[in-house]
């Protein structure tokens, strides 16, 4: 078996390049469905539609847990004392500085709505625990205050806020 090599460009060189290019484009195109199939499918996205939560039964100081997009959402009816605690903190000293006013809707200071997933590695923090009257994560010891802000421990960020709006004074829509 011998191959004839020549300095001239031959039709075989052209075939090599053309075949290689078609192969590369084909392989890249084949990767698209193979990778995309792992993203959330249509039924999962449909099941993630907005939900409404009635706030009337939530007592002063109570934290309820609802599920939206398989994520636990904490709805915290804060007492006067808890609101004050959240507001009087010197924001500049926080690991993830955010004033309490940026974490609640204007005029609804008593309602804190946060995604109940520790921003460290995804455990669900326990309500009304820890040194800051907010949440304590049992997995790696992160502590959140009454505004859901990280105060101590390995979590890098405050508890995330889900998108939500007040439909009326006693009803919110999450999503």
């Amino acid at each position: 078996m011998t191959t004839v090599s020549s300095a001239e460009h031959t039709r075989r060189d052209f075939l090599y390049i053309a075949t290689g290019a078609v192969g590369a484009v084909g392989a890249a195109a084949a990767l698209v469905p193979l990778i995309a199939q792992m993203n959330p499918d249509a039924s999962t996205i449909a099941a993630g539609a907005p939900i409404e939560v009635d706030l009337a039964p939530v007592a002063d100081g109570q934290i309820i847990k609802v599920f939206w997009r398989s994520k636990p959402i904490f709805v915290f009816h804060r007492t006067k004392k808890e609101i004050e605690e959240a507001q009087k903190v010197n924001v500049a000293t926080l690991p993830d500085p955010e004033p309490d006013s940026a974490r609640v809707k204007a005029g609804h200071d008593q309602w804190l709505v946060v995604i109940g997933i520790c921003t460290h590695l995804g455990c669900i923090p326990l309500p009304h625990q820890g040194a800051y009257d907010g949440w304590f994560c049992p997995c790696h010891g992160s502590q959140y205050d009454t505004s859901g802000r990280i105060r101590q421990g390995p979590a890098p960020k405050n508890l995330a806020l889900p998108p939500y709006t007040f439909v009326s004074d006693t009803k919110i829509q999450i999503g």
Binding site: P40, R69, I124, G141
Partner: protein, 408 residues
């Protein structure tokens, strides 16, 4: 370094086959006449034990897959069905679950042996790196298998481990959603983990073939770290290595059987007999024992991204070991200082494992930090410097001299 095969089958049928596919000669040269150093100790039997354990996991796993249902509402129940209803299901599952632990125990002995005797040094770098790849795939496989049980520990292990990827700046959350196939760990996650858990053992088997191939090219290291120089330094694989491997494998299986029949849940967690509940995190979550040292390293670092990087680095650093260790002498037998640092390293690894099982508070965090620093210092500071400063002991002229004394 394959032994020269003079394989000539007796039977006419085998002769016919041999002319068309010389598989008999391959087996004969690799596992019969293949020369092995005459001074191998029992630590060298763990390669065979690992191959055996991979076989056990694949056989029991394929059978378990016939009874398991990878669906969030049925997975836990199907496992209980295996335990209570399937004929010998309890035995097969306990073999598989404890088999994973035995597999990891054997791989740790195998790795520490490699480090002690310098088995990663030139010309065995590729052999060693293939081993690190096998170990990485083993970790992924073991993790996904643990998730399939779909108990509380399974669910939260899946959540915590997949969330490690959320530390990647910018694209972290996108990657995690992609891994989950949803907005949290759920049915799509379980389903794909099942698919991958079935696939990866065969990937391991493929890399094991490369690992053994590389081993048979460069030959085995031995306790002196001196290469065989003459025929006096080696013996034939069969019967010498075969019987030694076989004997110790039997001893190892006794240990395995003790776990399976007497303390099958000793290495597990009671919380994993509670069905997965996405609304409640168990108060104390820990990974399986074989991941604990890495978990301790992750928690020792107070920053999320840095913790994840340290966790990854603690495994990847192994692949660079052949170049981090600058000493020309392979075996710790002739490296008095290295030997002490090595045993300290073993203690630190076991200590990190113990700390990984403790809650991340007080003295445990401080100790974990000290041990983590030693873990990395061993690779990045001690090994490079020892090669320069250590005064090693004189090497024997040959393997047979070290075994029989100078007069031989």
């Amino acid at each position: 370094m394959s032994g020269h095969s003079t394989y000539q089958p007796q039977s006419k049928v085998l002769q016919w086959l041999e002319k068309r596919l010389p598989i008999g000669a391959l087996v004969h040269s690799s596992f019969v006449v293949y020369p092995v150093p005459r001074n191998l100790n029992y630590l060298w039997t763990f390669g065979g034990i690992l191959a055996f354990m991979l076989g056990v996991q694949i056989v029991t796993g394929i059978v378990l897959a016939m009874h398991y249902t990878p669906q969030v509402d049925l997975a836990f129940r199907s496992i209980e069905g295996i335990m209570r209803d399937v004929n010998f299901g309890w035995l097969l599952r306990y073999l598989h679950a404890n088999g994973a632990s035995m597999f990891f125990f054997a791989v740790y002995v195998h790795m520490f042996r490699g480090i002690y005797y310098g088995s990663y040094k030139e010309p065995r770098e590729v052999l060693w790196i293939l081993g690190v790849i096998i170990y990485l795939v083993m970790m992924a496989t073991g993790f996904m298998g643990y998730v399939l049980v779909w108990g509380q520990m399974s669910f939260w292990a899946a959540t915590v481990i997949t969330n490690l990827f959320s530390a990647i700046p910018g694209v972290g959350d996108t990657i995690v959603t992609w891994l989950w196939g949803g907005y949290a760990v759920g049915n799509p996650t379980l389903n794909r983990f099942y698919s991958l858990h079935y696939l990866l053992p065969f990937v391991i088997a493929g890399v094991v073939v490369l690992h053994i191939w590389a081993l048979h090219v460069v030959g085995q290291n031995n306790p002196t770290g001196v290469e065989p120089k003459s025929e006096k330094d080696t013996v034939a694989f069969t019967p010498y290595a075969t019987v030694k491997d076989g004997f110790f494998m039997a001893v190892f299986v006794i240990l395995f059987a003790w776990f399976v029949f007497y303390i099958p849940n000793f290495l597990g967690h009671a919380d994993n007999y509670i069905p997965a509940n996405p609304a409640v995190t168990p108060t104390h979550i820990v990974p399986e024992w074989y991941y604990l040292p890495f978990y301790a390293i992750l928690r020792a670092i107070p920053d999320k991204l840095m913790g994840v990087i340290a966790l990854g680095a603690s495994i990847v650093i192994l692949a660079f070991l052949p170049w981090l260790d600058t000493s020309r002498v392979r075996s710790a037998r002739y490296r008095p200082l290295f030997r002490q640092f090595f045993w300290l390293f073993v203690i630190v690894c076991i200590g990190l494992g113990w700390l990984g099982s403790k809650p991340p508070e007080g003295i445990y965090v401080i100790l974990a930090r000290v041990f983590t620093i030693y873990f990395f210092a061993f690779f990045l500071v001690i090994l490079p410097l020892l090669g320069i400063f250590e005064k090693t002991k004189p090497l024997p002229n040959s393997i047979s001299e070290s075994v029989l004394g100078a007069k031989a």
